[in-house]
């Protein structure tokens, strides 16, 4: 059974703080993704990675960066958190030829005050 885990379920940070969201998968998936999920806006792709050390911008990368030093781990970084980054963040992974068949983590509810 595929397991995608995220470091925190709930996180509260202050404006201007640097925030790290960690995601780990145990299925040797090449592809990993970060989304934010907001009511009425659905899932919006922030960044994705199809290989170690590779990253590509999604639809809303502004204010975020990512790191993928190891195949199983994909980190999302908020360099200077702002209140409009309060959201649910979802990590997902998939095999390379099945990018849309994704396995999701439980999500991190981030609140920036």
């Amino acid at each position: 059974d595929v397991k995608v885990t995220q470091s925190s379920r709930y996180l509260v940070k202050r404006t201007g703080e640097k925030v790290f969201l960690e995601c780990v998968q145990d299925m040797d998936h090449e592809n990993m993704f970060w989304y934010r999920q907001d009511p009425g806006l659905g899932l919006r792709l922030i960044y994705f990675s199809y290989d170690v050390k590779m990253k590509e911008k999604g639809d809303i990368p502004e204010g975020y960066s990512v790191s993928r030093e190891k195949k199983e781990r994909f980190s999302l970084i908020l360099e200077s958190a702002s209140t409009n980054q309060t959201s649910m963040y979802l990590c997902a992974s998939s095999f390379p030829d099945r990018a849309t068949e994704q396995y999701f983590g439980p999500g991190t509810r981030l609140t920036v005050t």
């Binding site: 993704f33 989304y35 899932l43 997902a92 999701f104 983590g105 999500g107």
Partner: protein, 106 residues
């Protein structure tokens, strides 16, 4: 550019009624579409994929290339079907719709 449209934010039905969650897409190539579901306090999970032509939990979805649609249907809704449903289109960058919240009343 590829796009997925789910026109309804909310769909409310009574138990036993038929349900249809709409999904329309825009894609220049041969599309592959998927439905995902997220139950309350659970993670998002794949429900079904059009290439499998499968029925999962009583749900089916048929790809209609002429109408560029991939609507999710169930003949008799159950309360446990209440969830958020997302339609997704395969691409180098997968595209998700905005989701439809299905509420099934007892």
């Amino acid at each position: 550019a590829q796009r997925v449209t789910q026109p309804e934010k909310l769909l409310s039905v009574f138990k036993g009624a038929p349900v249809e969650l709409k999904c329309n897409y825009s894609y220049s190539g041969s599309p592959e579409l998927f439905w995902y579901v997220q139950y309350s306090r659970q993670r998002l999970q794949l429900l079904l994929r059009h290439i499998s032509r499968e029925s999962i939990k009583g749900f089916t979805a048929d790809l209609n290339k002429g109408e560029t649609s991939f609507h999710l249907k169930k003949p008799f809704a159950q309360e446990e079907d209440s969830a958020m449903y997302y339609c997704a289109l395969r691409g180098r960058r997968p595209t998700f719709g905005r989701g439809t919240s299905l509420i099934v009343h007892p």
